[in-house]
Amino acid sequence: MAGGDAVERSLIDMHRILTIARLTWKSAFRYRIFWVMAVTLVAAVVGLPLVLKDDGTAKGLTQIVLTYTLSSVSVLLGFATLWLSCGTLARDVEDCQIQMVASKPIARWQIWLGKWLGILALNAMLLALSGSAIYLLLQWRSHRLPADQQKVLQDEIFVARAAARERPPDLSKEIENLAAQWAKKNPRAKPTAEEIAILKTLFANQARTNLEAVDPGYYKLWVINLSSLPARVRAQPMQMRVKFTVSDPDPAAANGRTYGMIWRVGPTNSQQAQYLEEYLPPSSFQELPLPPLLDSSGDLYVACQNIDPTEQLFFPIEDGFEVLYRESTFAVNFARGMAVILSWLALLSAIGLASASFLSFPVAAFCSLAVLIVGLSTGTLSEVQQEKSIFLGTGEKPTIVKKIIDALTVPLFDAALKVVNLVEAFSPVESLSTGQSITWGQLGLAVGQIVVLMGGFFTLAGILLFHRRELAAAQINS
């Protein structure tokens, strides 16, 4: 009985939330905001490739038709979302319509959520429209490329490839070994606490280098377990994406130079193992075909022998070697990318509504746009974090005042960067442009981090502020 009442009550709550959402939706149509945005977005999608000509390659086409247009759509919708979300609530308060609504049997949180949902639905519609335009344009323009570039497009862009990496090694044992060796060599040494800290760093770097380095004539083996992949995925052609650096730091010497290596793919001691000799440039990602020669337990063995006579090669632990496999189709991947962008927009609308919950329209719009600009300034935030100062590039010796200012502001920049990274950890535009899969797991994580965690924080703050606000005070003050 109580359960039935709770269900009925939830339905009534939802009905009221949807009533507000429909009102928000209706206002966007009646005030022609929707149509203006739709035309602007489609014009950006269609117009940008007309203004910026691609170079006739698959990558050039992707850069213009996918990367630029998708980025433009995201930014345009981002600004519009902030503007609309600030306006829909702040204007209602300032024009006093909220008094008519709040005096009806609807809770403040329902009004707030109704507005958020209305804006989200609007964004979903606009994103679906512009996304479809981009997708169709991309398909249409791809047919005008030369045959070889069309193949590149099909193999590298119009795919949804996920990456598998070797499990990160545990460096602690290697560090302990190095420390023990050093202590054995230097039995009389009694390092200070500061020196011990430096030594630890040195040992960690050394341990890492030992695992990443491949000396001339030697080889490095990666074992990647792909047993969790479906059989049809394991049977399809794969690629390996590799990146290495060289010990010679002189860029002039390294410029244009390639380094020889022999790749061996297949189980150890297997007759079916395949060999591939390649000469590759350093410090850039390279993709090579990878036959799906997995052993019976689903492990893929890949070894790389350094055949350069002089140089050590270093394959970074994080991204030195990855196996790319087709996880899904481009269309599905594209849709998931759009869903990540929609998550960003959901967060922005929560930020806009939260500001408008206690601020007037112009102030709320200003504050929300400031938040967006901070979000787009990760480069500056990272620089401040690295330099430990907000006075970048001055080269002057810091004064006491500057030191105090840095002490106060740098932690704020650090915190801002951490928060922004939670959101920007997902870059659907880059993933789609490089044919990388945005998996369901990544999408779930994006929704969790961006919408539930970050959006939830702003939603709670906004609802709390709106609940406490005197809704008739704006009129009194005016």
């Binding site: 209706k26 008519m100 049997p105 809770a107």
Partner: protein, 416 residues
């Protein structure tokens, strides 16, 4: 806590005025629907410093079924009080209960209809959409929402402009649609803030008639106004605000009666008869204390009659028309009960609709003199009848307004 309050969706009772409504669970017929104790509101500036004391230690109660007036000049604290009753402003001090609950209690609001002092409507919605939107907030079933929307639009005279957006409406039309939205839920408590502001005299009269109809159905009405005629015509009890404080409180009869004077109204008498009557009166009362005048109907009654006659010969209008009958569900006869039941209902009802209260204050009059007496005698001769018999005329409004202005001070304070 009453169960019906917890279920705001329980449909309002439509066709039986005698039946118990959800509000009955909160308060009996003589109990307070609204209870205000020591209510104070101080507006503060950005730094939290007191800026204006809009309402200052106010106490009053509104009992079930009465029409209660908040009367006062602009800026006296009426609207601030109303907004605190609705939870739109937070009191600085004091205590408010509406149907036994805090003004912020969401479910209680399903029993309230509110018309603010300006019709704050969504300009992009048309009249039908506006009522549908507010009906949705009350979670009315679609069929009921549609029926009430149609009835209310007819009632407020906007049946011909259903699909025109509210933003194109005149102020009077916006007031009408605002009034309609306040009644969409068949509320038990109707809070009307300056309901006749911006309305033409016909609309004003219709609003007042509607208030009386609602009161007859046992609804509680809180009317906030600075228009004396509005309050005088419909209110049972009033409080008079000035400077955020209550200056006077009571029934209109208590407040306006002059116990030391008697007024007799009768058809004109021949000169000799009148002289004899006056002689008899003067025998007991000093001449300067006797006032004789000819009652005149008020301008509202005269205007309404002129319009009524004009309408008989006319005509279309692109604006609001005169409202039709009060919506059936508000009259309490929705669902058209069979004639026999109707008769039974009428017979069991308390009585005829409340008449417009007779004027309690005497109309201004001249002192008795011979010329006046001659004039009165002349009036006894046959002459052209006035356009129509008027209901008992209220006092000369202009003079009464002037009187109250003098009483309360002429300064028109800035709006709080």
């Amino acid at each position: 806590m009453p169960a019906t309050l917890e279920n705001p969706t329980s449909p309002p009772i439509e066709n039986n005025p005698g039946r118990q409504t959800a509000a009955d669970d909160f308060a009996g017929p003589s109990e307070a629907v609204i209870s205000v104790r020591g209510l104070t509101k101080v507006f503060k500036d950005f730094w939290g410093r007191p800026k204006a004391r809009a309402v200052d230690n106010v106490d009053f109660e509104v009992r079930r079924g009465e029409v209660f007036g908040l009367l006062g000049p602009n800026g006296s604290g009426k609207s601030t009080t109303v907004k605190m009753l609705l939870g739109l402003l937070h009191p600085t001090g004091g205590h408010i209960e509406v149907f036994g609950h805090s003004p912020r209690h969401v479910a209680t609001k399903s029993l309230i209809g509110y018309l603010p002092e300006e019709s704050y409507l969504y300009r992009f919605l048309d009249s039908r959409e506006t009522l549908d939107f507010f009906g949705n907030l009350f979670d009315l079933p679609p069929a009921q929402r549609r029926r009430r929307t149609e009835e209310l639009l007819e009632m407020v005279g906007l049946g011909g402009v259903r699909t025109r957006v509210v933003g194109e409406f005149s102020k009077g039309m916006q007031r009408r649609i605002g009034l309609a939205q306040a009644l969409i839920n068949d509320p038990e408590l109707i809070i009307l803030d300056e309901p006749t502001a911006g309305m033409d005299p016909i609309g004003c009269r219709e609003v007042k008639d509607l208030i009386l109809t609602l009161a007859h159905r046992g609804k509680t009405v809180l009317l906030s106004s600075h228009l004396l005629s509005d309050v005088e015509d419909v209110c049972d009890r009033v409080v008079i605000y000035y400077g955020g404080r209550i200056q006077a409180e009571g029934t209109l009869k208590e407040l306006l009666a002059k116990p030391d004077a008697v007024r007799i109204t009768m058809p004109p008498l021949p000169r000799e008869t009148m002289q004899r009557v006056l002689d008899i009166i003067r025998h007991d009362v000093a001449s300067e204390k006797v006032e004789v005048d000819t009652p005149s109907q008020n301008l509202e009654s005269y205007f309404l009659e002129v319009v009524r006659k004009a309408r008989e010969g006319l005509s279309e209008t692109s604006g609001a028309t005169s409202g039709s009958l009060v919506a059936a569900y508000l009259r309490g006869d929705a669902g058209a009960p069979p004639p026999a039941e109707k008769i039974l209902q009428r017979l069991t009802q308390a009585g005829a609709p409340k008449p417009v209260p007779a004027p309690a204050a005497p109309a201004p009059a001249a002192k008795v003199d011979e010329a006046k007496l001659a004039g009165l005698a002349k009036a006894a001769e046959p002459r052209a009848a006035p356009p129509a018999p008027a209901p008992a005329p209220p006092a000369d409004l202009a003079k009464a307004n002037e009187k109250l202005s003098t009483l309360l001070g002429k300064r028109d304070e800035p709006r709080k």
